[in-house]
Amino acid sequence: METLVQGTEPGKKPTATKASRGKRIRARMWKDRYLYLLLLPGLLYFIVYRYVPMLGITIAFKDYSPFMGIVDSPWTGLDNFRRIFESSEVVQVIWNTLIISFLQIIFAFPAPIILAIMLNEVANPLLKRVMQSVVYMPHFLSWVVVVGIVTIFFRNEGLVNDLLREAFGAQQTIGFLTEPQYFRPFLILEVIWKEAGWGTIIFLAALSGVNPALYEAAVMDGASRFRQIWHITLPAIRSTIIIMLIIRLGDVLEVGFEQVFLQLNAFNMHIGNTLDTYVYFKGIQQSDYSFSTAVGVFKGLVGLILVMGANKLSKRFGEQGVY
């Protein structure tokens, strides 16, 4: 244990001379040689398939013509980035994206946590397993299918409206899919429906590690179920929740292109046009590689700032953070 603690900040020893420090580092690295061996395959992967391609990001600063190649395509500086912001629409579009994204973080992010805790409280193992298997099923349907099903059920002449008319005597058809006020709730509910069950897996895996003795002790103390959840269950998955949240923040400008795109129509365009769909309409179809890369870089930068900020914050509060 001592080596572990000492190792975290090797440069801090004030008395160490340069030579001896270098020697010590080499010695430590030699001692950890098997760990470096384990690191190697993954590191190679990151270099080859993640970082070498990143050199290609240069095309965001060029007018990339495939028939000239990356190197010979002319530089355009920040033109592609300027194009993202050239229209006044873009403010609205980024605003739309952020609203949907934050609604998702507020409502869709906690859904799997709550569901996981509920499942964790089920005593009957068979019932628990069956219900787990059921709730994670929607994840396997692609957005095309999910949106298709939503359309069948909620269109003007769909089942829900029929039901409202016939069973409840509703006079007016409700345009669930065309009236703008329903657009965001539907997006969020769909995400919860599709992904909440799937999202429980990671929390349930974390919960499986909780020592049952803790619960037994709590029962002895007469703690209610809610207190047990508050004092045992939640702390057990706290670090997982924080990491998931930090990573989720990195995707703040990403709200699921396909889901949104498939549900955009003339009536909800003004609140539903997000960064991805905006870029699509602007000309992704036209093979404008430089422009789409520039948008990717922009989204990455925003995500990076948020993640670094959140990570710092999390560490300040004594949590582990992502890195």
């Binding site: 098997y34 760990l35 395959p41 391609p53 709730v135 895996a205 499986s208 993640v307």
Partner: protein
């Protein structure tokens, strides 16, 4: 014979009641898919909501199964999923373990991982690298370029970090080197986490749609999502704005066939879960110290 308090019972029944309701909501569309896929097209057209087939028929399934492309795709996808998941587990767990130990450079490598999570190079540069490494048109192009998902790496590392230090200490005392500790102590302790992540990886492979489109030319190596999409989406793409393609395409297959295809493409991966599930349930003392 502990007598349960009323509050305890109320909690349980409300909890289970809610969960049953949620399960029903999640299951409902599947029931719909199921019923339509086993009905005749006439029955489908004739009824507004089919929740149980009135005349059972397996026509739709026979039609799908008779498609060579569909069968081939199921096979290719299974192969990619199994191979790919093994590769994923190897690459991810080794790297995650190394990064969970305080080795020199750990922080910078971790940052590199997080950075790549946020900044992907984009489709085209990655395509060029896949091309340069000679993987085009081979099923390895669906495996190696996604050997590690940074997100999964980060979370697995988190699991490793939560393993009590004493376990590793004990290994060191026994004279084991780091490889042995990893193999004999860490991996067995992390079974639930690894089970969860093999599921994540397997599902990602199974649902992969984009990579096969980009990297695979030979239609006999298409994966199931490509084929499924062709069956389900074909009606979406024709006839918009342009106008002249309105009649160029055949109409999409009837809904009965579409739904049968969706279920057939989903079932194989759905049944993986119950197998892995028992590993989740086997509680391992992990993170208990933190709790």
């Amino acid at each position: 014979m502990n007598q349960k308090s009323i509050a305890e019972r109320l909690f349980n029944s409300v909890n289970i009641g809610l969960l049953l309701l949620i399960s029903a909501l999640m299951l409902f569309p599947f029931l719909y898919l199921f019923s339509v896929s086993f009905s005749s097209y006439e029955d489908f057209l004739g009824s507004r909501l089919l929740l149980w087939p009135s005349n059972w028929t397996t026509d739709a399934y026979e039609y799908i199964w008779s498609s060579r492309t569909f069968r081939q795709a199921l096979w290719t996808t299974s192969l990619v999923t199994v191979l790919g998941t093994l590769v994923n587990l190897f690459f991810t767990s080794t790297m995650a373990y190394a990064l969970s130990r305080p080795i020199i450079g750990q922080r910078s490598v971790m940052f590199m991982v997080v950075f790549s999570l946020l900044f992907s190079a984009g489709m085209i540069p990655t395509y060029l690298v896949v091309q340069a490494t000679g993987l085009l048109d081979s099923i390895w192009s669906l495996i190696l370029p996604v050997a590690i998902a940074p997100f999964n790496l980060i979370v697995i590392r988190q699991f490793f970090l939560n393993i009590p230090g004493e376990m590793i200490e004990a290994g060191i005392v026994d004279g084991a080197n780091d490889l042995q500790i990893f193999y004999k102590i860490i991996l067995p302790l992390s079974k639930p986490a690894l089970a969860a992540f093999s599921l994540f990886y397997a599902v990602t492979h199974w649902n992969n749609y984009f990579a096969p489109i980009l990297y695979i030319n030979d239609s006999s190596k298409w994966t199931i999502q490509v084929v499924l999409r062709q069956i389900v989406v074909v009606g979406e793409t024709t006839g918009t704005l342009g106008g002249d393609n309105m009649f160029a395409a055949q109409p999409p297959p009837p809904e009965t066939i579409q739904m049968a295809a969706i279920l057939m493409a989903t079932l194989p991966i759905l049944i993986v879960y119950p197998f892995l599930q028992k590993h989740f349930a086997k509680g391992v003392m992990l993170g208990a110290v933190k709790g």
